[in-house]
Subunit: 210 residues, 2 copies
């Protein structure tokens, strides 16, 4: 059986990664498993361990980092957030695709550890719409908004590190594009040649990592 | 404006390349231009120059080969068949995708000259169905059919030279897969990053061939 595929959706803050991910999850009929993050922050009412997050103590999280058990992690407002490696690897080894939705810093950490993944960069149609989304989040000062925009532009410069760029103009269209990418990646010769040649009974001298 | 993309559909004899190409052409709403081949064979009743083929004299065809004006060519039952380079390049330079449906020998010639193309290998679901197609073509002897099957198996071994492998189990499904590949290839970062960064007004130090 072939290994599953790691799909990483990332992009600048405010681009709408979460909304696109939810649309994909809503449509998803078991083709991929959404990877649950681990965090040290307090569980909130209504949240479930293993569904919303794997909730962890700070000591356990730090130990997991030390043991190279985190595919990526970061700190935000005093709490740790990250992707446990074991869960991802076990799912891939079962032959199932894993979907990660993470920030650009996290995506670059994952790329270092799992370069065979499919890295998709979600990009805003234009900077005005990004500013609109960033402004729309609250009642922040113009200076704060400018700082967020600067950070977003820096993050957009990381697009070149990705395999695909998808414009988030309309959420359902962005989701369509990502589905096309996933379908197409599954048709790549290096992923399927071993299985096909076996089915066809053709002698196979092709070496692959998959 | 970005250059168009060269899409090459190939696969073993008898796999049904022509049928899948016709289904794609039927659906196609101008996203790609089907490349018209050049041939030295006689025009048949109902055929049109520039639509079915570019009809050419043998001298002109040989001169085109000499002048490196053919992307690929071969000889079949005394006639030349091939793909004129100029038509393909002009269409790509206008920003339009070009679709070639050719045999594996031709595809390998094109790959040498235009390695940036998207090379799709159409593969039979199993050897029995391929034998069925090859047998179904006429009233050939078992020895002839065996020879064709041997050739087809040799051609299947060229799968590793391609970017994608698409099973031709059901024609409409094979066409769906090829459409997903084309959509997905258009989302590759190296193809779109220049345009996006320009629209976003982000400084761009990314070098690309596209």
């Amino acid at each position: 059986m072939s290994k599953g595929m790691l799909i990483v959706l990332s992009g600048p803050s405010g681009v709408g990664k979460g909304t696109v991910r939810q649309e994909l999850t809503r449509r998803n009929k078991g083709q991929f498993i959404y990877s649950v993050s681990m965090t040290t922050r307090q569980m909130r009412p209504g949240e479930e361990n293993g569904v919303d997050y794997f909730f962890s103590s700070e000591d356990d999280f730090k130990q997991a980092i030390k043991d190279d058990q985190m595919l990526e992690y970061n700190q935000y407002v005093g709490n740790y957030y990250g992707t446990p490696r074991k869960y991802v690897e076990q799912t891939l080894n079962r032959g199932q695709d894993v979907f990660l939705e993470i920030d650009v810093g996290g995506a670059m950490q994952v790329k270092e550890k799992m370069p065979d993944g499919v890295f998709i960069f979600l990009t805003p149609p234009d900077l005005q719409s990004l500013r609109g989304r960033i402004t729309g989040r609250g009642t922040d000062s113009p200076a704060t908004i400018d700082r967020r925009m600067d950070r977003a532009v820096n993050e957009i410069n990381l697009m070149k590190e990705y395999d695909y760029a998808v414009v988030n103009d309309v959420v359902s269209l962005a989701a369509d594009r990502i589905e096309a990418i996933i379908e197409s990646e599954h048709l790549k010769v290096e992923r399927v040649i071993q299985d096909y040649l076996k089915v066809l009974g053709v002698k196979n001298d092709y070496k692959t990592n998959y």
